[in-house]
Symmetry: none
Subunit: 411 residues, 2 copies
Amino acid sequence: MRDAEIIAVGSELLTADKVDTNSLFVTDQLNMLGMEVRRKSVVGDDRALLTDAVREAIARVDLVILTGGLGPTEDDVTRDAVASALGRTLVFRQDLCDQIEERFRRFNRKMVEINRRQAFLVEGADPLPNQRGTAPGQWIEHDGRVAVLLPGPPSELKAMFTEHIVPRLTARLPASVIRTRFYRVAGMPESDLDQLIAPVYTKYQNPVTTILAGAGDIQIHLRARCDSEEDALRLLAELGGPIEELVGDRIYSTTGDALEVVIGKRLRERNATLAVAESITGGMLAERITSVSGASDYFVGGFLSYTNAMKTALLGVDAELIAKHTAVSEEVAVAMAAGARERTGATYALSITGEAGPESATGSPPGVVFIALAGPDGVEPRRFQFPGGDRDRVRRFATGAALDLLRRKIK
Amino acid sequence: MRDAEIIAVGSELLTADKVDTNSLFVTDQLNMLGMEVRRKSVVGDDRALLTDAVREAIARVDLVILTGGLGPTEDDVTRDAVASALGRTLVFRQDLCDQIEERFRRFNRKMVEINRRQAFLVEGADPLPNQRGTAPGQWIEHDGRVAVLLPGPPSELKAMFTEHIVPRLTARLPASVIRTRFYRVAGMPESDLDQLIAPVYTKYQNPVTTILAGAGDIQIHLRARCDSEEDALRLLAELGGPIEELVGDRIYSTTGDALEVVIGKRLRERNATLAVAESITGGMLAERITSVSGASDYFVGGFLSYTNAMKTALLGVDAELIAKHTAVSEEVAVAMAAGARERTGATYALSITGEAGPESATGSPPGVVFIALAGPDGVEPRRFQFPGGDRDRVRRFATGAALDLLRRKIK
C-alpha cells in the first residue's frame, strides 16, 4: 500500500473555469500517511470512459480514490462504472435507502424516486456513512487492492475521508513517515541552480527533490519517506546540508515565506522603514510589499514616477541628468532612490527604472533594469538584464531583484 | 478532430498545494474551436508512467496536448516519453540548439550543457518556436492523430498555443463555424448578473453561455456553433441583443479588452492624462494601468501614500482632517485625489483609501473603501463595501471600482 491514483468525476471539471481541488486535500492526507499520488485524472460523466479509467488505474496502483458522480441523476455514473470496471454487479440495499429517506424526513422533505439510485452498492462494497449528504461512500477491496468512492462536495468528502478512509488505510500501512524541507531562492536562473545542485540531489532517490521556478523566484522541495521520523530527518539533513552550502545566501527562506514577508519581518525587527520610487514596475513593487498584512508597520509609501517629468517633479531628479543619461540609467536610478529617501524620511528607499518592452521606448533593449537602494550608508545601484519580450515577466523579475537587494542589505 | 485530452506533466502538480491551471486555458481555446476535452490527467516526472499515459490517450482521442516536462533537467521526461509511446526515436537538431544558444547570448549568458537536451525532437515532429523561453514546442502527427508538446510556464504556453496551435487546428477542423460574442462587465456581483440574464440565456442551448467571474470583473461568453457563419451571427445577435439591453452600461468591453486597456484608449483619444494616489491598494491600481504597453502616453505616475504621515507629506492632506475623519473616509479620499491632481498636473487623478483587513487597523470594517476621482469639473467621491476577509480580493475589487469610475466619466 504505497501508491494511489485519484480520479475526479464530473463534466463540469472539464470546463475552462473549474479545477478539481478535492484532490489537493486527498493528496495531503495520503502524503501524511506516507503514500504517494502517482497520477490524477479528471473524467466527465461518461460511463464508458470512466470504466476504462478505473480499470487502468486499479491495474497500476494499490489504491484508487474516486470523487464525485455519486449523486441521484442520470449523469452520476461512478457506481456503474466502478462495478463494470471490476466485473461486479450493483446491489440495491434497502437499509441504505431507508437512511436516505430518513435524512429527507429530518429536513421535512420527501425523498424523490431518483434518490433510490444512491442506495446501490458495488457488490461486496462496504458502505461509508455520510453525515452531510445523501450519497454514501463505498470501500471496495479487489485482489488485494482498494477502490474508494466518495462524494464530490468538499465538506462531505473531507469529513468522510477523515472519519472512514484514514483509519482504514492506517490499519493497512507499514509504519512509514514523510518529512519535508523547503528552500526559496532568489537571484538565480533555474538552469543555473539546477546545474549547481544536481550533482548532489541526483545521488538520492529518497529524499525526492523538486525544483519549481517562477519569474526570479525558485523553490526547492525535499521530501523524505522512511520507516521512522529519525531516519527521514537524518536523510533531509544529509541532502539539505550540501544544498544549503552550495546555494548559500541566495536561500532567503526555509519556511515557505515569500520574499516580501521575509523583508517585512527584518524591517520590523530593526524598526526600519522603507519607501519606493517606481518607474518601469509602475506600482508592482509596492503592491508586493503591501500584500503582506501589517505592512504599514514598515512601509511608508513612495512615488510612481512613470514619466520623466514626474521623476523631476516628484523626486527632484535633475532633468539634465535624464537628458544626458536617459531615464534608464544608473545615474537616474540613484537619483530616484536618493530623492525618495529624502522626501519620505524612510530608512531605506528602493528605486527601479528600466525598459519593460515589448518595444523599446528609451533606447535601452527590453529587459534592461537599473535598481538602486538608498540607505544610511549611501546609495548602491545595480544593473540587470532580464529576458525581454514579456512585459509582465520583466516587471516581476525586477521587483524580485529589488526586494532581494534589500534583503541582502538587512540580513 | 473533435475530442482532445490534456496531460499536465510534473511531479510538483501531484503535491498537495499545486493545481494544473494550464489546462483551463487550453480547454477554453479548444472549446472556442469547437473541440471538447474528454479527459485531463496529471502525471509526475516519471518516464514509464508518462509513456503509458500518452499511449492510452492517443488511442482514445484525435488530439493529445502535453504541457510541461520540456525543461533541461533530468526530471524533464516528456520528450522521451512521447517518443517511446509513439515508437519513435529522439533526434538532435543542431539548428534548435543554435537558437537556444543564441537566446542565452542575447542575455549575456552562456548556454549550459544540459540545455542541449531541449534541442531533441521526437522523430518527424515539427518544432514550434518559443519566443519566451528556451524549450521549443513540438507538433507530431501520428496515424491521423496529433500529439502536441508545449512548455509548462503559462506565459510560454499561452503565446505558443495562440501562435502555433490554433492556426494548425483551425486548418484541420470541419467547416462547422464557431462564432463568439464577448462582454466584460464591471461593478456587479456575479450572482446579481446571473439572476438578471439567466431568464434570457437559459432559453438557448446554442449559443452556449458561460459566465466567468473574477474579483469585480465578470466576463460573459456566448458561443454559437452552426453550419454557416450567417446562422452563427444571427443566433449571437438574437441572444446578445437582450443581454446588452439588460446589462446596459455596466458592459465596458465587447472585444475582450481589459478595463485598463479601455481606459487607456479613451484617455489617449482625448489627450488626457491620469495620476493616482493609492493607500489601501499600495500600487495595485498603478500596476494595472501600467501593465498596458504604451501607458506612458497617458499615465504620468502618482503617490503611494500608505501611512497617514505620507498622505500629509506627499499629497498635502491636512493632518487634522485625518485625525477628525480617519484615513478611511470620504474627506481623505477627496483630499488625496485633489492633491494628486494638483501636484502632477494630470487631467484626472484617482485616489483609493480603505480597510483591506483581515483585521481592521483604522476602525472601519474590512472591505470599506473610499474612491475619489478628481477632474476638470471637481472631485467625486464614492463609498464601497466589498466582501471583507480576503486582503487581495478587497484590493482587486477596489482597483476595478476605481477604473470603472473613470471609465464612466470619460465614455
